[in-house]
């Protein structure tokens, strides 16, 4: 079950990760204290949130925003502050 970890000689030169799938393993959304809530009715589909999101957590299908990927969204609020239509609300995460 445990994944075999690489030895130091198998790593790239420099602290980089070139295996992009490895990045997906860390579900950084668990760090979030504020949650963006997307309001489909208010959204004008300008995609500014998608451009500004530092974690690629705005889900886009066929050029349209369809939601937020909470597995990776850290709740920084950039999307809510950039949204010209105020279509994203930041709400406190609750247990």
């Amino acid at each position: 079950m445990a994944k075999k970890l690489k030895g130091w000689q198998e790593l790239p030169c420099g602290a980089i990760i070139d295996d992009m799938d490895a990045v997906k393993e860390n579900k950084t959304g668990a760090w979030r204290s504020m949650r963006p809530v997307w309001n489909k009715e208010k959204c004008r589909q300008c995609l500014l949130c998608w451009i500004y999101c530092p974690d690629s957590a705005i889900l886009v299908v066929d050029g349209k925003v369809v939601g937020i990927d909470y597995d990776y969204c850290k709740g920084c609020g950039n999307c809510a502050s950039i949204c010209p239509a105020k279509a994203i609300d930041m709400e406190k995460e609750q247990k």
Binding site: L11, C13, G14, A15, I16
Partner: protein
């Protein structure tokens, strides 16, 4: 071409000839002129460099890291408090294996405030994973800065090239420069090992690694430094073959039959040479060992070189404030530890805050080391 240049002017001139892709820097005495003069070259269109004026040395190194991670040739310059402010970013640069080259005009650290030359700043960066070169003359500074670019890019390690603040940074010497084209041919093209902007091969630079991978990344970085020495020697040899100026990682001066030597880094080697010549003319068996490369610590070469002497005086232009003497002293004694017969090693701290260190001072040190009588663990030269 033969020119009269200060250390700072020579560094700026070398940078012009290197023509780096990006220079990000913030001014600080005594290194200010390096960047100031280089920015003139930028303004006059003599280089292709993107010059980034930043708001602090921390930002300067951050900008250098960003540019180098995009596979660019990157340089900067700093000193003293500036190098201290960069400290955090030095580790990021080396951990990412970015071949950034930094010119340093070494200076003391506050408090009390002092702008003059000693090695407090560069030596305090010793554990940051950068190669470190200490130069004796302006000529050596000029040559070493050019060599360091090639060494760094071959070893994928960042490098600091240090000259002593004011003593070298502000004093004119006669130097022989290379032609721009010679410098560019010598360096060739940088072959980056990754490029953050290459969207066809996406990478994540500087990821978070926890108990699972941090140690392996560090072990890999350590190996980079372990393998640096042959690269340094190779580039020094290539430079010598092309331009006729040879440098040693560890230079022995009149050591052939010496019983007593001083081990010194930086500009003070010059005055020690004068003292050696005077003592030699009186038939005393003394010599000088000049350590040019401080990181990597060339322990095997040092051991091989130093084991045959009776007594060694180690001169530090910095005190580690550890109640055990200068950093060079502690490293040299530890290098010699596993020899069955060891030379006696005496610790001297000199020249803090630019305090003058004369040939007479060097003579005094030689006399004391020759006598073998030293009561205190550390002797502070010229302190009232």
């Amino acid at each position: 071409m033969i020119l009269a240049k200060t250390g700072n002017e020579a560094f700026a001139y070398a940078m012009k000839q290197i023509n780096p892709d990006v220079v990000a820097a913030y001014p600080i005495t005594p290194s200010t002129e390096i960047v100031q003069l280089f920015s003139n070259y930028v303004a006059d269109g003599e280089v292709d460099t993107e010059f980034v004026a930043v708001e602090s040395e921390h930002s300067a190194m951050a900008a250098c890291i960003g540019a180098a991670a995009c596979g660019r040739r990157v340089m900067t310059a700093t000193a003293s408090q500036g190098l201290a402010l960069m400290h955090e970013m030095l580790f990021v640069a080396s951990g990412l294996r970015l071949p950034i080259v930094m010119a340093v005009a070494s200076r003391s650290l506050s408090s009390p405030l002092n702008i003059h030359g000693d090695h407090s700043d560069s030596i305090a960066s010793r554990d940051s994973g950068w190669m470190q070169f200490f130069c004796e003359t302006v000529q050596e500074g000029y040559d070493t800065l050019i060599q360091a670019v090639k060494m760094a890019e071959r070893a994928y390690l960042p490098a600091i090239v240090a000259i002593d603040g004011f003593i070298l940074s502000h004093c004119q010497e006669r130097i022989e420069t290379l032609a721009d084209q010679e410098v560019r041919d010598f360096l060739g093209q940088l072959k980056p090992n990754y490029n953050l902007l290459d969207w066809r091969n996406p990478i994540l630079a500087g990821p978070a690694t926890l108990q699972d991978y941090y140690f392996e990344f560090k072990r890999s970085q350590i190996e980079g430094m372990n393998r640096a020495l042959p690269i340094i020697e190779e580039v020094q040899a290539e430079f010598g073959h092309r331009f006729g100026r040879y440098y040693a990682v560890l230079e022995e001066f009149r050591c052939e039959d010496a019983e007593v030597v001083l081990l010194v880094i930086g500009s003070a080697c010059g005055n020690c040479r004068i003292a050696v010549e005077q003592l030699r003319s009186k038939g005393r068996k003394v010599g000088l060992v000049k350590l040019k490369v401080f990181r990597p610590m060339v322990h095997s070469l040092l051991k091989k070189c130093l084991r045959r002497f009776k007594r060694i005086g180690v001169l530090d232009r910095v005190d580690a404030v550890n109640s055990y003497g200068g950093p060079l002293f502690t490293e040299i004694t530890s290098v010699l530890y596993d020899l069955s017969e060891r030379p006696e090693v005496f610790s001297y701290v000199y020249g803090l805050g630019g305090r003058e260190f004369t040939p007479e001072d060097a003579m005094g040190v030689y006399e004391q080391v020759m006598s073998g009588k030293k009561d205190e663990l550390v002797t502070y030269i010229g302190v009232r």
